[in-house]
Every structure is written in structure tokens, then in C-alpha cells.
């Protein structure tokens, strides 16, 4: 049967079939049929997958930014790792979603807009003009194709246009800005009286029974924290350095091997005559310069003093005073062509004119300072320091290796690791989760490990790298769990607590009575006569004046404004237990000063622009299909 198909499948029928088969390839391309290997995916946004690789990159980047904010290293415990992961994921999802929205809404960036954006990047410019060569070089250096880079620029511009298009057109009408300034800079006139809880403390009596009852009810608040002692092996370069023994022969060998470190290179002293040629000078100017150079050389040849000729001819302004002297020059200090000539001359020689970046130079070698090796005795200390630091480095690597192996293979004891490394086991004092004031128990890295499950179950810890380069392995030495403290020990704490609570109630009661009197119409002094505490009267305050406690200021500005000359009264308890009585007499709207208006206008436009875009984003997000694969995070 197949043979028959082959026999018949010639002529127009075969062509028709081939054409039919090839249509899909022509239209959709091959890549649709050969998807790459399946990649790990952390999320799917409307069917678009976010690969784990992109997530890892974003996470690392956010981490680095955070580390920079902390000055290079994130203090342990300062940031919740899980929250950082979540943050990175949300950033990616949001970016993808915004990109999709922008596309779907019909936002596009034209190739010419991308081009002018790239042309405006100072890094791609030479003398303020876009330089295609430089652009190409930078792309090559970064191993990027221009097409890929341009696509990324277009994408960034698209997001920018979509987001800031809506955001930047936000504004509040002037009347609302005025409203804001009037409210924000409002002034209010108040009298304030503070009843200190402390003043009531001596009146308060607390009985033993009350203390016992409180202890029975809140006993769990009074506990000694769990604490422990660690045994540890500490690898410290400072101690290693002392252990390294050094013989004279070692130092001699080191001196020979690293002789480049202790050798002053040869230097040559030269004078020169410069005939300057401006960059881009034409052929005539160059010929003229060459003629001048030849003439100068001829004069020296004829016996004239080099310094004299330099003063007369050289375009180097220094020639006037120094006679063209350039001082001592080592290899690598000057133009390579000049160097080549200089280091092949004999003392007293005068060179032919040499073409360099400055123009034409004629040089005379005036002296040679030969390369000089510092004698061993002069650099002995340096050699020793160099030798020791290398030995310590090697020792550090070797001992770390042994420490790791032994403490891992024998997790129930530090003894073999101690023997293998020659370190002795040390012990910390007792410490809690708060850590110790000094020693290794004050290091956050150690603290985190010390209270970990692994260590508390009696196993050796992993190697812990401390920020200063020391390495330590710890294990549990002694442990004491959290325990309730006996009543006798905490009775005084409870008594203070109860006294405070009662004092606070008394202050509040006095305050409330005074408030009632004020509201009934009696005047300030009369209502407060004989009560503890101090008054501040008829004070003008603004929302951010610091004269009153924050809670009081905020109460002052949430009160209704007084009407018909009738003051408004109010009272509140502060966190420290004091009670504050407030009388509000008058208010004045904030003045519409130009600088306030300008600031408010800008601030409000930014704020509402941001809020409006957020609203827009949420509306779109509500319709999106987002799936997160946490197992791949």
C-alpha cells in the first residue's frame, strides 16, 4: 500500500499536499513546534510565565540594594527573608501586568522614539553627539546585541508612557490646594493641663493579696528567659599569625622569590624640545613642524647647548625655566614611542625628532639611575610580614577545611575537630536570645545559630563566618529553659505595676471632674484649683509644633472649632499614664503664602497621581488571572 502511495504521489497531487503542509510552517515559524526544555516557573500572569531565573535575579538585586542601604551588609535579623522573597515576586508580577496592560490598551513606542531616546544617552555620545561606533563598542563590551538592548529600551519607555501618562496629568484644582494649605497650616489657641500619674502614687496602697491575685492571673508574664552556654572552636587569623614560625632561611627564600617587590626599577632623566602639532593639523602644518624640528636638531649637532635651543624653540612652556628637563622617567610613564627611544639611548645622546601624541619631540638623555634592589637587611620586616600573611592565609584555608570535615563527620563532639586543628575548645558565659555584650555570643550570626533547632538538639553547628573573617563552630554546652519566676522575686514588679495602674485611674478621675466643671461653665483656674500638675495657658499651636505631646496636638486638631466664643473642652489619657485636659479657644486658617501653595500643589499632584494610578492598576489586576507557584520560589 505504501509503495503504491509512493508510486502515485507524483505530479500535481504531490505538490498540492506539500504546499498544504508547508503553509503552517510559513506562517508560524518552526519555533512554535520545538519548544525548549521546560523551565521552572514561579508565577503565571494571564498565561505569561515568569521563569524562576528572572525571579532569582530580581531577588538578588533587591537584596543588594538593601545591603547597600545598610552600608554593604544586611544585619542578621533586620529583614525578614520571606518578606523579601514575596516582595521580589510581587515586583515581577506587577511589572509583567503593567506591561501587558500597556500593550493591550494600545500603547506603542515607535522605532524613531527609541532611537532618539538612545541618542540622548550621554554614555553613547562623543563631544555631545551620538557616536554609533561608541554605541557598538559599549554593546559589545556588555555582550548585548543592539536589537536586544533597543527592545529593552522600548519596553521601559512603554511602561513609562503608560504609567506616567496617567500619573503626571493628575492635578488638584487651585481651590482644593488652598483648602489643603488652610487646614494644614491652621493655628489653634489652647490651654492644657497635665495631671501626672506619678503625683498620685503615694496615695495608692497595694495589699499582699492583690499582688498574689495578680500573680495568679498574669503569672506567665513573669518568666526567666531561656538561656544557654556554648562550647566553640574559633579560628582567628591573629592567633594563627603567632603560631607561624619563621626561620632566617624562609625569609631569604621569600626575598629571592619576590624580588620584584623589593626592586626599584631603572629610571632615566631626560630633557626635551617639543614642536607641537595640533590634532587634525593639515599636511602643510606638519611639514612646517618637521622643518622646525630638523633645524633645532641641526643647531644642537652644530654644538649649541641643548637647554639654550630648548628655551628658544620648544613649545613646552616649562622649557623657559627648566631648559626642557623632564626629570626622572620610569618605563610606563611616557608615550610608548618616546619610551622606546629613551631606553635605548646612551647618556649624552640626542635623539632624532620622535612623533608622539603631542607633536614632535627631540630628547636628550642626561642621566641613568640603574635599577636598584633593596638589600635584604633593609626590607627584612617587610619580607617577614609578607611571608607571615601568606602562611596565615594558607593555614587558614587548611584549618578551615579540617574544622569543617571533623565537626561534620563527628557531629556529637568537638574533640576530634579540636585535635585535628590544634585549636582548644572555649566556652561562653550564659546568654539569652538577646545575646551577650561581648565575645562570640554578641555576634548576630552566632546568636541565630545558637538558638536553632540543630544546635539545641546537641549537634555541632555548620561553619559560621563572622564579618571580620573569623570562623567558628559552636555546640550546646549547657541549656536552661524558660521558667516561671517565684512570687517573692516578682512581687515588687507587680506592686509597681498595680500602683501605676491605680495612679493612672486617679489622675483620670481628677481630670474628668475638672472637665465636667469646665463644661458646666466654671473658669480654668477655678476648675483646677488644688489639683496636681501644671497648666500651660493660651498657647498657639500648629499641627507640627512640638510643644505638646503628639497625642495632645492631634486631639487639639480633631476637636471642632469653637463657635460663638464658647471654648471646646476635651481630655485624654497619655500612654505614660498622665491625663491631659485641653481647652480650645480660637482657630485661624493657615495663610496662603506662595511657598506653601507651591509646595502643596506639587505634593498633592504627586500624591493623587500615585493614588489614581494605583486605583487604575487595581481595577486591571482584579480582572487578571494570576497563579503563583510557591513551591518553585
Amino acid at each position: 500500500m505504501l509503495q503504491k502511495i509512493r508510486d502515485k504521489a507524483t505530479g500535481w497531487l504531490a505538490y498540492a499536499i506539500i504546499i498544504l503542509i508547508s503553509i503552517p510552517f510559513a506562517l508560524w515559524g518552526l519555533n512554535e513546534y520545538f519548544g525548549g526544555a521546560p523551565t521552572q516557573v514561579v508565577a503565571e500572569v494571564n498565561g505569561v510565565e515568569i521563569p524562576a531565573r528572572a525571579y532569582q535575579q530580581e531577588f538578588q538585586q533587591q537584596r543588594q540594594q538593601l545591603a547597600q542601604m545598610f552600608g554593604g551588609r544586611i544585619p542578621s535579623g533586620a529583614v525578614d527573608e520571606d518578606m523579601m522573597r514575596e516582595n521580589a515576586l510581587q515586583t515581577l508580577i506587577r511589572r509583567e501586568l503593567v506591561a501587558q496592560m500597556a500593550k493591550e490598551k494600545g500603547f506603542r513606542i515607535s522605532p524613531s522614539a527609541v532611537a532618539s531616546e538612545i541618542r540622548a544617552v550621554p554614555g553613547f555620545q562623543r563631544d555631545g553627539v551620538f557616536d554609533p561606533e561608541r554605541y557598538r563598542q559599549i554593546m559589545e563590551a556588555q555582550r548585548r546585541s543592539p536589537a536586544e538592548f533597543e527592545a529593552r529600551v522600548a519596553q521601559a519607555m512603554l511602561l513609562e508612557q503608560f504609567q506616567s501618562g496617567y500619573q503626571r496629568s493628575a492635578f488638584l484644582p487651585e481651590a482644593m490646594v488652598e483648602d489643603f494649605v488652610r487646614l494644614r497650616h491652621e493655628r489653634r489657641q489652647v490651654s492644657v493641663h497635665r495631671f501626672p500619674a506619678e503625683a498620685y502614687a503615694e496615695r495608692v496602697q497595694v495589699s499582699e493579696e492583690e499582688i498574689a491575685a495578680y500573680y495568679a492571673e498574669h503569672g506567665e508574664q513573669f518568666q526567666t528567659p531561656e538561656r544557654l552556654r556554648l562550647a566553640y572552636l574559633l579560628l582567628d587569623d591573629a592567633t594563627l599569625a603567632e603560631q607561624v614560625s619563621v626561620t632566617e632561611a624562609d625569609l631569604r627564600r621569600e626575598y629571592e622569590q619576590r624580588s620584584d617587590l623589593f626592586t626599584q626599577p631603572e629610571e632615566r632623566r631626560a630633557s626635551h624640545i617639543l614642536i607641537r602639532i595640533e590634532p587634525g593639523a593639515d599636511a602643510d602644518a606638519q611639514a612646517a613642524a618637521e622643518a622646525r624640528a630638523r633645524e633645532a636638531r641641526a643647531r644642537i649637532e652644530a654644538g649649541e647647548d641643548f637647554a639654550e635651543v630648548a628655551r628658544a624653540v620648544s613649545d613646552d612652556p616649562m622649557a623657559e625655566t627648566a631648559g626642557g628637563d623632564l626629570g626622572y622617567i620610569a618605563r610606563g610613564d611616557v608615550d610608548p614611542t618616546l619610551e622606546g627611544v629613551l631606553f635605548t639611548m646612551r647618556v649624552g645622546d640626542v635623539s632624532q625628532p620622535v612623533r608622539t601624541g603631542l607633536g614632535l619631540q627631540i630628547i636628550k638623555l642626561t642621566a641613568i639611575e640603574p635599577s636598584r634592589r633593596e638589600p635584604f637587611e633593609a626590607v627584612r620586616d617587610e619580607v617577614e610580614a609578607e611571608f607571615r600573611s601568606r602562611r596565615v592565609e594558607g593555614l587558614h584555608i587548611e584549618l578551615t577545611e579540617r574544622l569543617l570535615t571533623e565537626s561534620f563527620e563527628q557531629p556529637g563532639t568537638l574533640q576530634p575537630a579540636a585535635e585535628a586543628t590544634g585549636l582548644s575548645i572555649a566556652y561562653t558565659d550564659w546568654f539569652t536570645r538577646q545575646g551577650a555584650a561581648e565575645g562570640i555570643a554578641s555576634e548576630p550570626e552566632v546568636l541565630r545559630v545558637a538558638f536553632s533547632q540543630e544546635v539545641r538538639q546537641g549537634r555541632n553547628s555548620d561553619l559560621i563566618d563572622l564579618p571580620d573573617g573569623r570562623v567558628v563552630v559552636v555546640r550546646l554546652h549547657e541549656y536552661e529553659p524558660a521558667a516561671p519566676r517565684p512570687l517573692e522575686e516578682v512581687a515588687e514588679e507587680i506592686r509597681l505595676q498595680l500602683v501605676w495602674e491605680e495612679s493612672r485611674r486617679l489622675a483620670e478621675a481628677d481630670g474628668a471632674r475638672a472637665l465636667e466643671a469646665l463644661q458646666a461653665g466654671s473658669d480654668w483656674a477655678q476648675s483646677l484649683a488644688g489639683l496636681p500638675g501644671e497648666s500651660t495657658t493660651e498657647l498657639w499651636v500648629t499641627r507640627d509644633s512640638g510643644e505638646l505631646p503628639g497625642a495632645v496636638t492631634s486631639r487639639v486638631f480633631t476637636l471642632n472649632r469653637p463657635a460663638n466664643d464658647r471654648p471646646v473642652f476635651s481630655g485624654l489619657s497619655l500612654r505614660d499614664g498622665d491625663y491631659v485636659l485641653v481647652a480650645l479657644y480660637a482657630s485661624e486658617p493657615g495663610e496662603l503664602r506662595p511657598e506653601r501653595m507651591n509646595e502643596a500643589r506639587q505634593q498633592l499632584a504627586n500624591l493623587y497621581g500615585g493614588l489614581e494610578f494605583e486605583a487604575l492598576y487595581q481595577a486591571l489586576e482584579a480582572r487578571a488571572k494570576i497563579r503563583i507557584f510557591r513551591e518553585n520560589l
Binding site: 506603542r108 496617567y166 496629568s169 487646614l183 493614588l611
Partner: protein
């Protein structure tokens, strides 16, 4: 289906079928391929249009940021006339409204925002414009119209903005209770930056509370 006894008969049948349907099949293929290429052409055309609109919008934006109202308006008019179906036309209208409002020309700003609302093809953009228009109407002491502008159901995410401007309208009308209720709803739904909102809310607090 009937059984054919030999391959020759099968070939005969296929040839016969082709004579009857061949033209239709070829016509179908031509139509299909033509349609595909036509569709691609149409997509390309739209892409190009969108890119041109994008460039025009960039020009509006530049002019507007430079404070050149005349230039901004000309470019925005072009967008409005020829590219009204791209998202750039309403966006340009909103940017123009901002510039006009900053010069106190609230009436022109209103007109532009109303056009953006009428034109907007997605409700998120329409509601952004509605909220902004309502604020302008409150400032123009037309609080009732402001309330009308933001009446009806709004997309998710707009709760705080809508309730805030409703509060503004009620406060402007002197109805402290309605204003306070609206501000409270706005604060509950807010996504941050509530200082102004809170001050306005305190401004209409219940007396004596």
C-alpha cells in the same frame, strides 16, 4: 462508505471528487491565505498608527511640560481628529486639562475631561477622568454636578478616590453628615497618603464628640 476493489478505482473516485469540488477547494485556500495576509497587513497598519499616535503624544507631553499651551493644543487636536481610537487621544486631553487648570482655565479643562470621558474605551480611564472632573466641578461650586459625575458603580480600586470627592462635594454643600460618612468610607478604603483626607474629615467632625 462504499468499498473500492482496486487502487485504480480509488484514483478514479478521487479524480471525480476533485472535478466536482476542486474549484471550491482552491477558492477556499486562496481565501484563507488571502485572509491571513490581509489580517497581518491590517495589524501592521494598526501598529503603525499606534506608533504615530505615540509620537504625537510625546510631543503633547513635551509642549505641555514646557508650558506651551498653544503647541500642546495643536498636537492634541491632531490626536483627537485622526487617532481618537488610540489611548493617546484621551490621555492627551487629560494632560491638556491639567495645563489649562493650572492656568485657571477650569472651563476648558472641564471640556477636555468631558471629552476624555465620552471617548474613553476603558472604564478605568473613564473613571480616572470622572474623579478629576468631579474635583474641578467642586472647585467651580457645582457640587451637585460633581456628585452626578461620580454616581453609579465604579471599578474596583476607585472606592477611596470616589468617596473622597463625594465627601468634598457634600462638604462644599454644607452637609457635614453626608460628607463625614463619605470621608470615613474613603479612609477605610484608602491605599495610603490620608493626611489631607483626615484633615477634611476632622473638619466635619461631629460637634462635641
Amino acid at each position: 462508505m462504499s468499498e473500492y476493489t482496486t487502487d485504480e478505482e480509488k484514483v478514479e473516485a478521487i479524480k471525480k471528487w476533485w472535478q466536482e469540488n476542486g474549484k471550491a477547494v482552491i477558492a477556499g485556500i486562496v481565501l484563507g491565505v488571502g485572509g491571513l495576509f490581509g489580517w497581518r497587513y491590517w495589524v501592521d497598519l494598526n501598529e503603525t498608527r499606534a506608533e504615530r499616535a505615540s509620537d504625537l503624544f510625546l510631543a503633547v507631553d513635551r509642549a505641555s511640560r514646557a508650558g506651551d499651551l498653544e503647541q500642546a493644543r495643536q498636537q492634541a487636536d491632531l490626536l483627537r481628529a485622526d487617532y481618537a481610537r488610540t489611548p493617546y487621544a484621551p490621555l492627551a486631553a487629560l494632560e491638556l486639562a491639567r495645563l489649562q487648570a493650572s492656568r485657571g482655565e477650569l472651563d476648558s479643562a472641564e471640556e477636555n475631561m468631558r471629552w476624555a470621558i465620552g471617548q474613553g474605551r476603558s472604564e478605568e480611564v473613564t473613571w480616572t477622568a470622572r474623579v478629576r472632573l468631579a474635583r474641578v466641578l467642586v472647585a467651580l461650586e457645582r457640587a451637585d454636578e460633581a456628585l452626578e459625575t461620580v454616581a453609579g458603580s465604579h471599578p474596583q480600586g476607585f472606592e477611596a478616590l470616589v468617596e473622597e470627592v463625594r465627601g468634598d462635594a457634600w462638604r462644599a454643600k454644607g452637609d457635614r453628615d453626608q460628607a463625614r460618612a463619605a470621608y470615613d468610607r474613603a479612609i477605610a478604603a484608602s491605599m495610603g497618603g490620608t493626611e489631607f483626607l483626615q484633615m477634611k474629615r476632622d473638619d466635619v467632625a461631629v460637634p462635641g464628640a
